[in-house]
Structure formats: structure tokens, C-alpha cells
Amino acid sequence: MESYYDRKDLPKFDEIAKEAPELGKKFFDYYASVFSEGDLTEREKALIALAVAHTIQCPYCIDAYTQACFEKGSNLAEMTEALHVAVAIRGGASLVHGLQMRNVAAKISM
């Protein structure tokens, strides 16, 4: 089925730097630094990335970081828990705005 998203595009990500090589290099250098081991392990960073990927609903990122999480030693239960952290924050963020609704409602209500 034809789609705007094609998984074969994912390995070609670095082609995005062709029209702006300096900016591309800066981004990819930064990206590599972000995901290398620091105070957080590469495994923990991949779990965060997987959770964020679901929040921004990026199919490329979900594909890449599902694979990366396995290859960094996480299992499916841990990955699912990470996803639920993202879901809880995303859901909680919507819900907490309900206070704004309540404030507005209170202001315009008798």
C-alpha cells in the first residue's frame, strides 16, 4: 500500500544533509553525542527516545528505537513501561489543562 512513510527511507536519513552539509554535520554530531553514554547509559537513552518517538508519533523513530532498544539490551516489558511513561505524561498534560477549563468555566458561570 502506498504511503507517505516508507521504511526504506530511514537508512537514507543522512541524505538530508546534502543541501546543507554544515548544518547537517552539526545536527548529526550533536545527535551522536546526545545518544552516547554519559551519566545515562545508551540503553536508558534509547528507552527515552522510544517513549518520545511515541509522543511525537514518528514512525521512523519508532522503527529505529524499537530496534535500538533491543540492541541496547532492553526487553519488551521495559519498552512498554517506557511507552506508558510517555502516555501518562501526554494524558496528564491534557488532563491538567482541565484546570484551565475549570477556571474559565468558573469565570463565566454564575
Binding site: R43, E71, K72, N75
Partner: protein, 325 residues
């Protein structure tokens, strides 16, 4: 058409044959001093794991090494001055002569490694085997691909995790894996799908923490190995539509630095019927040592240093990333 031709035909167009990749890097795979004799005492197994390159299973009841061949293997181990004998399968526990074989090897003062899927090692029926392993300080190498019950059991069969944990606790209770006992309990962790293994160091640290915290289990060392695209694993890769992507991943992860530490440079593998191969994977692929079927009884000693090692495209699995040592 040979099996090798079949394999080449199945390679994605983006992946070069392994031999060509070696040539491009100006590399050759040759033997060093061969010190390890790996012995496949049975293709018979109680499990039918999806990642098994040998397609071992309960239906392979005829492919079991007999005592006569074991005696010839033990004699070869002596003639060849091998330092380590690595006993594997299938499930080596299911060979009815396994205790006699370990005693034979121990009489020749060989260091013995015993590979187990752990699910039947500590059955009451294996009491004598376990006693023999303990007495002769046989290192036990147990397979534990994941601590996630669903992933593990999807690969190895339902109810497997509970049996493995029971076995590990039992092994710990008799001293295996405990510091200072000299009874080595190593774990082998293969990925539970079409992806590369995580780093050995990180996985060992995590397994050590999780096994201790959740079940009070300890072990000596953990090794991570890539799944080799042969046998039942290859069939699964093809059926699930993962074969091309997996081969591309292996080939793109080729690391020339891994060649120096590859196990095939210091190991020969013997099949259940006594024939020799450069490694367990060439055995599974039917690529014999030196290009001809050589029986263990006809070999004066191990292959000479400098002897070329037969390669095929499954070798990408051993040379990907950090390698397979």
C-alpha cells in the same frame, strides 16, 4: 546446485558475498593453534527453539553420538593435545552415554565445557550427570536469551523460563556460579529476534542485577552472540520477511577487527557422527573442514596453523559489531 549456491542466491543484492568482503579488506581467515574441540553429541533436543541453526529437536532421535564415536573423539582429543573440550548439542543431556563421555574426557585431564538449555539439566534423571560435572569441575554454559517471559518463551517454548530459573537456583545451591567454588556457570544470551545482540558488558551487568534482585541467582560470566542465519532461524527470518534486512544489518556491521578473535581460528567442531567442521555453523551449513568429509578417527591431529577456514555468508554473523568469540 550446492547449499552454498542456494545461500548466495538468497543474498539481497545490496549484500556482497562474505568472501568478497574479506578480499576487499585484504583479509584471509586462517587457523591459529587449534586448542578447542567442540563436540556435538546429539541433534536430539527437548526444545525446538526458533533461533536454532542446527534445527535440533525431539524428532531427531537418530542423530545421537554413540559410545564408539565418543571413544574415537576422546582419543582424538588426546592425540591433538586439545586443551578444552566443548560438549554441545541439541541437548547433550539426552545422549544416554553422556556421563561415560565426560568421564572419558576427564580421565584424559581435559577441561570440559557443557552447554545446556538448562531446562532438563537438573531433572532427577540427570543426577549422575550433574554429579559427574561437579566432580570434574565441568564448566556449565547455559542458554538464557531474555529475562522477559514472553520474549523468551516465544523463542524457546512455553514454560521454559520457570524451568531455567529452577535449574539456575539448583546449580547455585550446589556451588555453580558461586565465587570461590571453582564451579563455573556461564550464561549465553542470543537476541530473541532479527536484531543484533546488545553489548556484552552492559547485558552482563543488567542480567546480574536482575537475576540477583528478582530471584537471588548468581552466575560467573555472560556472553552475547548474534543469531546465525542458518537452519530454523533462517527459515523464521524468511517466513517473517526479515531475511533481507537482517542480512543487510549483519553485512553493514562487518567489523574487520573481529577476525583476530574469532573462535573458528582455534576450534574444530565434530558432528554427532564424528565428522569434522571448522565451526558449529559450517557444520549446520554442511561445509566440511578442508572441503572433504574427514572422520575424527582418521585425523592425526588438529588442522595445522595457517590452514584456510571455509567461509560463507553466515560468517557475517560472527564478524558483526563486536564479533563472536
Amino acid at each position: 546446485m550446492t547449499d552454498l549456491d542456494d545461500a548466495l542466491k538468497e543474498l539481497p543484492r545490496s549484500v556482497d558475498p562474505f568472501a568478497l568482503t574479506l578480499h576487499r579488506h585484504n583479509l584471509e581467515l586462517k587457523r591459529a593453534r587449534t586448542t578447542i574441540l567442540q563436540v556435538n553429541v546429539a541433534l536430539l533436543c527437548n526444545l525446538t527453539c526458533k533461533h536454532c541453526h542446527l534445527e535440533a529437536g525431539p524428532q531427531r532421535s537418530e542423530e545421537v553420538m554413540n559410545l564408539g564415536t565418543m571413544e574415537k573423539v576422546a582419543a582424538f582429543a588426546e592425540r591433538g593435545s586439545f586443551e578444552v573440550v566443548d560438549v554441545t548439542g541439541g541437548a547433550p543431556e539426552l545422549n544416554s552415554n553422556i556421563v561415560a563421555f565426560i568421564e572419558l574426557l576427564a580421565a584424559g585431564q581435559k577441561t570440559v565445557m557443557f552447554r545446556s538449555n538448562l531446562t532438563i539439566l537438573t531433572d532427577e534423571k540427570r543426577r549422575e550427570l550433574l554429579e559427574s560435572c561437579c566432580r570434574h569441575r565441568v564448566a556449565i554454559v547455559g542458554s538464557l536469551p531474555s529475562l522477559n517471559v514472553n520474549q523468551l518463551e516465544a523463542q524457546r517454548g512455553s514454560g521454559v523460563l520457570e524451568k531455567i530459573l529452577t535449574a539456575l537456583k539448583r546449580l547455585n545451591s550446589i556451588g555453580y556460579g558461586q565465587p570461590g567454588t571453582g564451579l563455573q556457570l556461564d550464561l549465553v544470551c542470543n537476541p530473541t529476534g532479527a536484531f543484533l545482540p546488545s553489548s556484552q558488558h552492559g547485558t552482563e551487568r543488567k542480567f546480574r542485577f536482575d537475576l540477583q534482585k528478582k530471584w537471588g541467582i548468581v552466575f560467573s560470566n555472560l556472553y552475547t552472540f548474534a543469531n546465525v542465519p542458518l537452519g530454523r532461524f533462517r527459515q523464521w527470518l524468511s517466513a517473517s520477511g526479515n531475511i533481507d534486512k537482517y542480512m543487510e544489518k549483519l553485512a553493514s556491521s562487518f567489523n574487520p577487527c573481529t577476525l583476530e578473535g574469532l573462535m573458528c581460528q582455534k576450534l574444530v567442531s565434530v558432528s554427532w557422527d564424528g565428522y569434522l567442521y571448522d565451526c558449529d555453523f559450517n557444520l549446520a551449513a554442511g561445509i566440511p573442514l578442508g572441503g572433504a568429509r574427514n572422520h575424527v578417527s582418521a585425523m592425526e591431529g588438529p588442522p595445522m596453523p595457517g590452514t584456510p577456514i571455509a567461509v560463507s555468508d553466515h560468517c557475517y554473523a560472527c564478524t558483526a559489531g563486536a564479533g563472536f568469540t
